[in-house]
Each structure stands twice: as C-alpha cells, then as structure tokens.
Symmetry: C2
Subunit: 372 residues, 2 copies
C-alpha cells in the first residue's frame, strides 16, 4: 500500500511538497530518514526519534538478515515491533552494502555470492531473496536489489550493471506478494546521462511505487552528483516519490530538493554526532575545540531540541572528551533534529514559493562551515 500526493509544486524549481502514505503512517515530503542500519538509530530511543521530528527511518536488510536474521525478526512480529518504532520504515535491500562491506562479492545473473563481513560465512542474495527478506521484515517500503558498480567504473561496466539491475528489477516485481508493502525501483547508470535515461525508461516500465537514484555519492565530484540528479529526476513520473540514496550535507539536500527529490537518508548527522560535530544555525560546532570548554550557550541557540534546551556546549564537550555514552545520545538528538527541521523549513519555503532563496541561503552558509 502506498499513496503519494503532491500538495505544492514550486515554480522555477523541481521542488515539491507532498504527502506519502504508507502502511504505518504518513510522511511529509521532502523527508529525511535517519539511518537505523541495525534496527536502531545509534543512541536514540524511538521516543527520542519521534521528538526529533522523524516520521520515517531507514533500516538495512543486508545487515539485519545477517544479524539477527530476517526469520528471527519475522517470528518476533516484524521489524516495527522488534525495534519499537511504530512509524514507517524503508529498508534498503543491501545491494550497496554487499559491494562495499562484504568480501568476495561475485555477481552472476542469478544474484550475488558473498561472504559476511561479520564472520566470513557464505551467502547468496538475488532479487527474489531481497524481496523475500524485506517482506519478512515487514518494512513499509522495500528496495529492489541492484548492482552497484564503484564510482569511476568504466562505461561498459556501468552499462552491464545497469542492464542487469533492470533485469533484477523485473524479477523483483514478479516476486512481490504483499500489497501493503511499497516497492521502489532504483535507477542506475553512474555519471552517464544517457545510461541514466535508459535506466529510467527500463525501471519506470516496471511500474514501481517510487523511484530511487542509486549509485551516486560514491566518490564522483559533487557537482556531477547534482547534475545527474537535476537531469534524471525530471524524467521520473511526477506522481511517484523520488528517493536519493545516501546523501548528504544540508546543502546537498537543498540542491537535490530543488531537483525534485522527495526522500533522503544519510549517516552524516548521526555519524558526526558520534564524532562530536554538531550542525548548527551558526555553522559546525566541533566539540573537541578548547574554545567550547566553558561555553555556556546551547549547541544551537535557535534549536528547541532536548539537548539544546537543557545543556551547554561546555557540558557536551565534557561528555565527548570523557567518552561518556550520553554524548552520543545528546549529540544525535540535536543533529537529527537539525536535519528534520531543515526539511520542515524547506517544506515551508516551497509552500510559500520562496524555496529558491531558502536553498541559496543553505548552500551559501555551507560553503564556509559544514563538514562533509
């Protein structure tokens, strides 16, 4: 089950505000999905997540199928019950992780043979298995398995991967058995605009509930990422949600929303939090810097999150330097809140027909201040 309604389309920009209806609830788009790779956004309870403004989270079928196992989660009532999150969940199929994390990955037409990065055990994953696993997990949105060639791969490698991904996508569609679970196709094609267009055609022909841009932010220059998205997104059906996988900084998100993207996930806010780097309305606060040692101000004076309304930069720095576990929680609450509020602000700007100026502001600030 999936529905997508566009509530406002910007003029002079691809940006749009929509409402995505999934089995476990509605998601205002453009939306950011915090990353819960192993079924937990690192350091956050489901209550924390909700308070940060998150409406949907991303989990990873590759990781969860290796540990604790999709069958285990299914017997326990599915991923929502397992992780105590009642809202929508999108699961990535794990294609990207097989090619980046697993060892000895070998692609054949049936699927991928690989060894677990945890214990070296042998596994096979094909497009049918990827759907079966995600149906067992019971996520709201399943992603098809795709082949992800490395950034900078030769054109014939990218071409072969793109064509195989399309054949796998067709097999995934044939395998679907749960109408309540949306399935998104993934457009490949690397940085080649012609291959991207061909991948769009082949993928859209299969009639998915939504479409992702995959194989980007994998090492190519950021200008190329933005250009590919800007050219490719408009080729996708306007009435289906568009998901850009695995990106990015606030400025990236602003640019990609302008290209017509509706959904995002990225480890930046959560990973930076663990490293003591906070996104703020006045630029990055890197907690290890001595200047914060007796700074009584909140991380971000414009932020109303649990962390910013109760704790000083000095305390956050102290927790980070002392490697206190609470540092992870408090920093992540703030960074995820920052990202979720950024999306809210973008939605507001789009509806007010002021997205261009808003996005330019985000991009301009970032040039000086944010880590990536």
């Amino acid at each position: 089950m999936s529905g997508f309604r566009i509530l406002h389309q910007a003029v002079g920009s691809g940006a749009r505000v929509g409402r995505l209806t999934l089995a476990h609830g509605e998601v205002a788009t453009p939306a950011f999905m915090p990353v819960a790779t192993h079924g937990s956004v690192k350091g956050l309870t489901p209550r924390d997540l909700r308070e940060c403004g998150a409406e949907i989270v991303l989990a990873n079928a590759y990781h969860l199928s290796l540990r604790p196992g999709a069958d285990v989660i299914a017997r326990l009532g599915g991923l929502h019950r397992f992780m105590g999150w009642e809202g929508p969940i999108l699961t990535d199929s794990g294609g990207y992780q097989i090619f980046s994390l697993a060892t000895l990955a070998r692609v054949r037409e049936e699927g991928v043979d690989f060894r677990s990065h945890l214990d070296g055990s042998s596994h096979f994953l094909g497009p049918e298995e990827a759907i079966r696993i995600q149906e067992a997990l019971g996520s709201d949105v399943a992603m098809v398995l795709d082949e992800c060639p490395p950034g900078g791969a030769a054109r014939d490698v990218v071409l072969a991967a793109t064509e195989r991904s399309a054949r796998w996508a067709a097999r995934a569609v044939a395998m679907r058995s749960r109408s309540e679970q949306a399935v998104f196709g993934i457009v490949q094609g690397g940085s080649d605009l012609g291959l991207r267009a061909e991948s769009v055609r082949a993928t859209v022909a299969l009639g998915f509930d939504g479409y992702a841009l995959g194989g980007l932010s994998v090492g190519e220059p950021r200008e190329v990422t933005w250009a590919v998205a800007a050219v490719t997104a408009p080729l996708l059906p306007a009435d289906r949600p568009r998901y850009f996988m695995g990106s990015g900084t606030p400025g990236d998100l602003a640019r990609l929303v302008g290209a017509g993207i509706d959904l995002f996930d990225c480890v930046l806010p959560t990973r930076h939090a663990r490293n003591g780097a906070l996104f703020t309305s006045a630029g990055t606060v890197v907690l290890r810097h001595a200047r914060y040692a007796d700074d009584p101000r909140p991380a971000d004076e414009r932020c109303a999150c649990y962390t910013c309304t109760r704790f000083s930069r000095a305390y956050l720095r102290h927790l980070h330097m002392a490697r206190e576990p609470l540092a992870v929680t408090l920093n992540t609450v703030h960074n995820v809140t920052y990202y979720e509020r950024l999306m809210q602000d973008m939605r507001t700007a789009i509806v007010a027909d002021a997205f261009g100026a808003f996005a330019a502001g985000v991009v301009g600030e970032e040039r000086h201040s944010w880590p990536d």
Copy 2:
C-alpha cells in the same frame, strides 16, 4: 541545609524508613544513588534517570576537578545546571579514587600529592581543598576527604589512616562555609571493630549532617563487610542518615538496610548494563547467551520501565551483540529501575513491619542468580 526524619523504625532489625531533606529536594530512604562519576549516569538523560525512580545521584569530585575542573563548573552555574539534574546530588570527595586510580599517591599530614590518571599532571588534595571543590560544585551533600588504606592492610596502617582521617575531618568542618550544603563524615577502621568504634567516636564528636561507612567492600570477605556494618551502624546517631559507600548487590543492600543503613551507591547496575547483564525478578539475564536470540519476552516481566514495556530480550540481545549505543541506554534504564524499585519495595516492607521476610527473600534468591 539538611534534615532527616525517621518515619518508621523496624522492630527486630535496624531497618528504618526516613525522609532526607536536602537543598535540591527530598529523598525517601533507604535510597540508592546511581553513579554519575563524570556528571552523567552512563547512557541516561536526566529525564531517563527521573523515570527510573532515582531521587538523588552521586558524582565524583576527584574526576570532575580533574576534568573539566570545579572552577569551570562553578562558572557555569554549578553541577546541577551543568548536568541538567535538578534533584539532590551527593559528591564523593575522591579520597578513594586517589588511592585506587591516581598514580604515585603520597599521603602527608597536609593531604595527598598525586598524579592525574588522565595526563600524569601533579596535584595536591587536602581536606580543605576537598570541601572547597565540592562547595564550588554546589552538591547537596559533600563528603570529607579520608585516607583509604587498601583492604587487608596491617592494623598499624589502618590505625594511622583512621586517625589521620579524623584529623582531616576536623579540618574539613572548620573549612565549611556554605550552610545549604550538608557534609558527611566518614568512619574508617577497616575490619577492626575496635578501630571502627574509635573512629565513630572521633567522627561523631565533630557533629556531621550524616555519617558514612568507608573502607569497606574493598576486597575483604562479604561476611566481614556485613558484620562490620551490623556492629558499627548502631553506634552512629540514630537521627542522622547513614551511608554505606560503594556497595553492592541487591542482597548486600537488603542486609545493609537491615543493619540500619539509609543511603547506597554502587556501579553494579550501570556497569552490568553496559556488559549486557540485566537484574530481573527471575535472576540475571546475560544477554550474550544464545537462548535469548529469539526470546520475545521483556527483560523482566514484572518491570514497568521504558525498556521492559517496549522491547524484547531478543532485541536487547541484538543491540548488545551489534554493540549499538542504544544497548547501554536501554539496559541501564532497566537495571537502575530495578535497583530503585528494590529500594521502594524495601521501604514498603519496612513500613508494613515485614522487612525481615522481604530481605530474606532477596538474599535467598541472590544465592543462585545474581552476578557480583
């Protein structure tokens, strides 16, 4: 400022229920203080702590004076504001930590010279400095600096340390300048009941707001610990709170409450949580055990904490095995709740004149099941 009122004294046992009034609020006794060594109970927000039932926490002046510095915390408005905890805080002076953690500790009559365990820098701490630091932190209860001889030390070593601790206690009293901060004396004397009695006499003569038993649970047999507490506690003024430092298991607490102890602190619930061991009404749940891999039950079916009402043992095991930061939070929420409810149950049993049977039950269960 400190007041202590006994609301119910058990018959046939030293156990009593009381109410301790401190600058930042009231504490129902017997009470357990979760340990916030560096100004944070590891993995818990102040909100989590409150929901676990904690009314008072313990922080450590030794650690906080080395990092971030008592003067820094004072400039930021004191320890309560620094750590976002509005309830009572007891600070340990750090005597025990100097002797157990710092290197090259040398005791002279003025105080202790030592090197920081963090960076090897040289420091001096005397009884006056210990009070000054804790006044700067602004804790509700300050502990005097004492000399802590190792467990099993020769009698003349213990005697000398006990006598010096008494002289230091007198200097601490002379140094007090903040009437709103309670100061507790510490009874030393190792396992020697004669030295303990002499230390009680010397310490009580100085007129503290409360009295602690120190230098126990430092390696001596547990039967000795209990015996020393059972003999020494009744020698202390009945109308002052009694604090047993650094212990223990639920069974230890039940025995010590029976000896007339009112306050406890211990790292067991928080440390065990980080190691994946959960205290439950059916014995210890050690999460790494494979039998919990698909166990749908909560950690403790009789527990109403955030963790037990939302998550299965299978999920907690998964988080622990995957080293997810949320494991620390969820396990600690449960274990601290378990300890706080144990204290609540003891208070209820005392008021109902049923403490003997209750304590015997706790001690009996523990013989088979709890880690220590």
